[in-house]
C-alpha cells in the first residue's frame, strides 16, 4: 500500500478547510443551480481549479506527483465535494488512480498517475462492481469487446475495468463513449462500446485491483454522502429558521425540532462510520473491508433518508427545481446504487466477519 502511516492531523484539517473555502465560494447554491440548468460549465471550471490547487493528487503517491495522503486524501476531498454537491468525474478518476497506485503495474502507475494527479486526464470505471460476470467486457487475443455502463465523463482518457478474468486499462476515444443523461446532473455516466480494442495495460492481479477499487469507491461514496447529508440538513434548518407560518418560524415547532435532532443524530453516526472505515482502511487493517462496505451501505441509505426528509421539511418549495433539496436527493439516489448494491455489501461484510472470527481474530477493535 502506498498509504503513509502517520499524517499530522493538523495538516489534514488545513487541507480540508482550504478545499471547503474554495468550494463554498465557487460552488455555492446559485452556481450549482446555474450548472444544473445547463447555463455554465461549472464542472470544467472546478476541475481546472482542483487541478491547479493540487486536489487531484491528494491521494496519489508522492513519487507519481501526488501528496501521498492515500485514502485520507480521497476522503477529505469527497466529503467536501459532497458538501457542495459539486459536479465532476472525481469518484471515477480518483478511485481509478487509487486502484492503480495500490495494485497496478509499475508501467501503468508511471503512465497514468502523474497525469491524474495533475488533472490532465479523467478516467472511467464500472458504475457497478457487482460480482456477477454475466455482463461486461470480454478479452480475447484480438482485444477487448463489449459494452459497459461506466461512471465517468465522456472525455475520459481511459477505462479501468474487468475484462474476462483480468482487469484492463483501455484508452477511450470520444466515439467509444456515449453519455447517458441521469437524474443526478452533478455526475455523469457513459456507455462505452468497445470492439477489439487493444488494452493499454493488462492487470493480472484481478482480485487485488477489484478490491482496491471497491475499497476506494465505497469510501469515496460514503464520504460524499456524509458531507452532502450534513450540508443539505444545514441548508434545510437555515430555511426553517426563516420560513414563517402561524406567526412564527417553523423551526420553533417541536415536531420539526425533533425531526431535525434525529437528522443531526444520524449525521453524527454517519460521520463516525466514515471515520472508522477510513481509519481501518488507511491502517490497512485486516477488517478494513468490513467497515468500508458497511460505511457505504449505511451512509448512502441514511443520505437518501435525510435528503428525502429535507424535501419534506421544506414543504412546497422543497419539491421545486429552484431549491437545493432535489439536487441532493438525486445525488443520494445515485450514491445508493453505485459501486455495489447495499445488500451485497452487507453480505460481503458478513462473510469477512465470519472469516475473521473463524480465524480467531476480532474485527471489533477500534484502536483509537
Amino acid at each position: 500500500m502506498a498509504t503513509p502511516i502517520e499524517i499530522d492531523q493538523a495538516t489534514l484539517d488545513a487541507l480540508r478547510e482550504s478545499v471547503d473555502a474554495v468550494l463554498a465560494e465557487k460552488c455555492d447554491s446559485t452556481a450549482l443551480h446555474a450548472f444544473v440548468d445547463g447555463k455554465t460549465a461549472l464542472d470544467q471550471d472546478l476541475w481546472t481549479q482542483a487541478a491547479s490547487l493540487g486536489w487531484l493528487g491528494f491521494g496519489i503517491p508522492e513519487e507519481h506527483g501526488g501528496l501521498g495522503l492515500g485514502l485520507r486524501g480521497l476522503a477529505i476531498l469527497h466529503t467536501e465535494l459532497g458538501r457542495q454537491a459539486a459536479p465532476g468525474p472525481y469518484i471515477a478518476t480518483l478511485c481509478a488512480g487509487h486502484a492503480i497506485a495500490a495494485r497496478g503495474t509499475d508501467a501503468a502507475k508511471k503512465t497514468w498517475l502523474p497525469r491524474i494527479a495533475a488533472g490532465e486526464i479523467r478516467a472511467a470505471i464500472p458504475a457497478s462492481l457487482s460480482t456477477s460476470r454475466s455482463a461486461g467486457l470480454t478479452l480475447s487475443s484480438t482485444g477487448v469487446s463489449g459494452t459497459l455502463r461506466c461512471l465517468g465523463s465522456p472525455d475520459s482518457a481511459f477505462v479501468l475495468t474487468p475484462a474476462g478474468e483480468v482487469w484492463v486499462i483501455v484508452e477511450l476515444t470520444e466515439a467509444a463513449s456515449a453519455v447517458v443523461p441521469m437524474w443526478d446532473r452533478t455526475r455523469e455516466t457513459i456507455d462505452i462500446r468497445l470492439q477489439q480494442a487493444k488494452p493499454a495495460a493488462i492487470l493480472e492481479d484481478a482480485s487485488g485491483i477489484a478490491a482496491a477499487l471497491l475499497q476506494a469507491m465505497t469510501l469515496a461514496i460514503a464520504a460524499d454522502s456524509a458531507g452532502a447529508a450534513r450540508s443539505i440538513t444545514d441548508r434545510t434548518i437555515a430555511y426553517m429558521k426563516t420560513r414563517q407560518q402561524f406567526g412564527q418560524p417553523i423551526a420553533g415547532f417541536q415536531a420539526l425540532k425533533h425531526r431535525a435532532a434525529d437528522l443531526a443524530t444520524r449525521l453524527a453516526v454517519m460521520e463516525e462510520m466514515v471515520a472508522h472505515a477510513l481509519h481501518r482502511a488507511a491502517a490497512d487493517a485486516p477488517d478494513a473491508d468490513i467497515w468500508t462496505s458497511l460505511a457505504k451501505a449505511e451512509t448512502t441509505e441514511n443520505f437518501v433518508f435525510i435528503a428525502t426528509d429535507c424535501v419534506q421539511l421544506h414543504g412546497g418549495v422543497g419539491y421545486t427545481w429552484d431549491y437545493d433539496p432535489h439536487i441532493f436527493l438525486k445525488r443520494a439516489r445515485l450514491n445508493e446504487i453505485l459501486a455495489m448494491a447495499n445488500p451485497a455489501l452487507r453480505d460481503r461484510a458478513a462473510a469477512a466477519l465470519a472469516a475473521a472470527t473463524r480465524a480467531g481474530q476480532s474485527a471489533l477493535e477500534l484502536d483509537v
Binding site: L256, K257, A261, A264, A268, V269, M270, E298, R346, L366
Partner: protein, 393 residues
C-alpha cells in the same frame, strides 16, 4: 506489584487490572445473580465494592486527600474497558455515591461535607438521588418538595420518584423548594438527607422488566440540619447542574464497551452453532448494520470523554447525540434479539448468563436508556435548540 503502583504506565496499569479481574471475578457470578433475591443482589454489590476497595479501585478518580488514588480520565477509561472485557459485575448501586455525589461536592460542598461524606463513600455508603417528582419529570425545575427553615434546621415535606436503590441508600442528594414565590429555577435548595431520618419512607417501584431498582420516597416532616445544605439557599438549581454534568460519559462508555463484548460473544456462539438467523438475508444484514452503528457509537463516546476535560464541554451537544443514538441502537438490538429468539425468547427470565439469553428482559430494560437521565425527547430539544440553534417559542 499492585494496580495503583503501575499507574504511571498506562499499558502496565491495564495489564494489572486484567490480571486482578481474572483472579477476582468468579466465573459463575452471572449465573448466581440470575437466580439472586434482592438481598443477595445487594450483598453481591457490597462484595464487589469491597473487592474494588482492597486494590484501591473503589474511588480511584478522587483526589488523594479525599481517599482516592488521584487517577486521570485515561485511567478511568482503562478501568472501564477492562471491566467490560472481563464482564465483571457493575457497581450500579453505587453510581450516585461514586459519580454524582463527588461531582457535586467537589465544586460546591464545604470542606467538612467533603471530608465526612466522601470518607463514607470510600467505606461503602450507598447514596440515592432525590430529584424527580411525580409531577416534575422533564420539567424538573417545577419541583414542589417543600423545605421550610426552622431555626438552624429545615423541615421537608414532599415526594420523590425514580430514585434508584433508594431502598438501600444511607443518604440522599435532595432538591427542595425553599422559595415558592421565586421564578422556578431560583427557589430551589440542595440538601444532603439521611435516609434513616424519621419521616423518610421508601416504597420500591416494580418496573416493566420485573425488577425493582428504583423507589418512591415519601418525606413527612423530615428535619435536615442547615449544615447539610450544598451551596447557598435558593441556589440549588446551579448546584444540580454539577450533579447532572458529573457523569462525563464514563458510565455510557463502559456500557458501550460491555455491549461490544456481549455482541461479540453472541455472534461467536451463533457462528459456531450455525444459527438460523445468519442464513436469513434480511436478519444477517440488519445485524451487520448494528455493528457499524455500534463502532460509530464507541468512537463518539471516546470523543465525549476527550471533550469532557475541555472548556467547551458544557456547551457541547455531543453527549445528547450519543445518548440518542446509543439508547435507540440498544433498543433496536434487543428488539432484534427478541425477534430471532422465537417463542423461547418469551420465557419469563430476568438476568441471564448468556449474552442476550433473556432478550425480553434486555428489550424491556432498554427503556431505562431512552427514558432515564433526561428523556430522549428532552435530548432532542437540547440538540435542536443548543446544537442547531432552532428557536424556543
Amino acid at each position: 506489584m499492585s494496580i495503583l503502583d503501575a499507574k504511571d504506565d498506562l499499558t502496565k496499569f491495564r495489564a494489572e487490572i486484567r490480571t486482578w479481574l481474572a483472579d477476582v471475578v468468579p466465573a459463575d457470578w452471572k449465573a448466581r445473580m440470575a437466580r439472586a433475591s434482592n438481598e443477595e443482589y445487594i450483598a453481591g454489590q457490597r462484595w464487589w465494592m469491597a473487592e474494588r476497595r482492597k486494590v484501591g479501585l473503589a474511588v480511584p478518580h478522587w483526589p488523594v486527600e479525599y481517599g482516592g488514588a488521584g487517577l486521570t480520565l485515561q485511567h478511568l477509561i482503562a478501568i472501564a474497558g477492562e471491566m467490560a472485557r472481563a464482564d465483571a459485575p457493575m457497581a450500579r448501586m453505587f453510581t450516585i455515591s461514586l459519580i454524582h455525589l463527588p461531582g457535586t461536592l467537589f465544586p460546591h460542598g464545604t470542606e467538612a461535607q467533603k471530608r465526612h461524606y466522601l470518607a463514607g463513600v470510600a467505606k461503602g455508603d450507598v447514596w440515592c438521588q432525590g430529584f424527580s417528582e411525580p409531577n416534575s419529570g422533564s420539567d424538573l425545575a417545577s419541583l414542589r418538595c417543600r423545605a421550610v427553615r426552622d431555626g438552624d434546621r429545615y423541615v421537608v415535606n414532599g415526594q420523590k420518584i425514580w430514585s434508584s436503590y433508594s431502598m438501600y441508600a444511607d443518604h440522599c442528594i435532595l432538591l427542595t423548594r425553599t422559595d415558592p414565590d421565586a421564578q422556578k429555577h431560583r427557589g430551589i435548595t440542595y440538601f444532603i438527607m439521611d435516609m434513616r431520618a424519621p419521616g423518610v419512607e421508601v416504597r420500591p417501584i416494580r418496573q416493566a422488566n420485573g425488577r425493582a431498582e428504583f423507589g418512591e420516597i415519601f418525606l413527612t416532616n423530615v428535619s435536615i440540619h442547615a449544615e447539610n445544605m450544598i451551596g447557598r439557599e435558593n441556589n440549588g438549581w446551579r448546584v444540580a447542574q454539577a450533579t447532572l454534568a458529573s457523569e462525563r460519559g464514563v458510565i455510557a462508555f463502559e456500557g458501550a464497551e460491555r455491549q461490544r463484548y456481549e455482541i461479540e460473544a453472541f455472534y461467536h456462539k451463533a457462528l459456531a452453532s450455525g444459527a438460523a438467523w445468519l442464513r436469513d438475508d434480511q436478519l444477517r444484514r440488519e445485524f451487520m448494520g448494528f455493528l457499524a452503528e455500534m463502532q460509530a457509537g464507541r468512537r463518539m463516546l471516546r470523543r465525549v470523554l476527550a471533550e469532557s476535560e475541555t472548556p467547551e464541554a458544557s456547551a457541547s451537544v455531543l453527549p445528547s447525540l450519543v445518548k440518542l443514538s446509543a439508547t435507540v441502537l440498544r433498543q433496536r438490538i434487543c428488539s432484534f434479539m427478541t425477534r430471532i429468539a422465537g417463542v423461547e425468547g418469551q420465557d419469563f427470565a430476568l438476568l441471564a448468563e448468556e449474552p442476550f439469553g433473556s432478550p425480553m428482559f434486555d428489550f424491556l430494560s432498554a427503556f431505562s436508556g431512552t427514558i432515564a437521565g433526561g428523556t430522549n425527547e428532552i435530548q432532542r430539544n437540547i440538540v435542536a435548540e443548543r446544537g442547531l440553534g432552532m428557536p424556543r417559542v
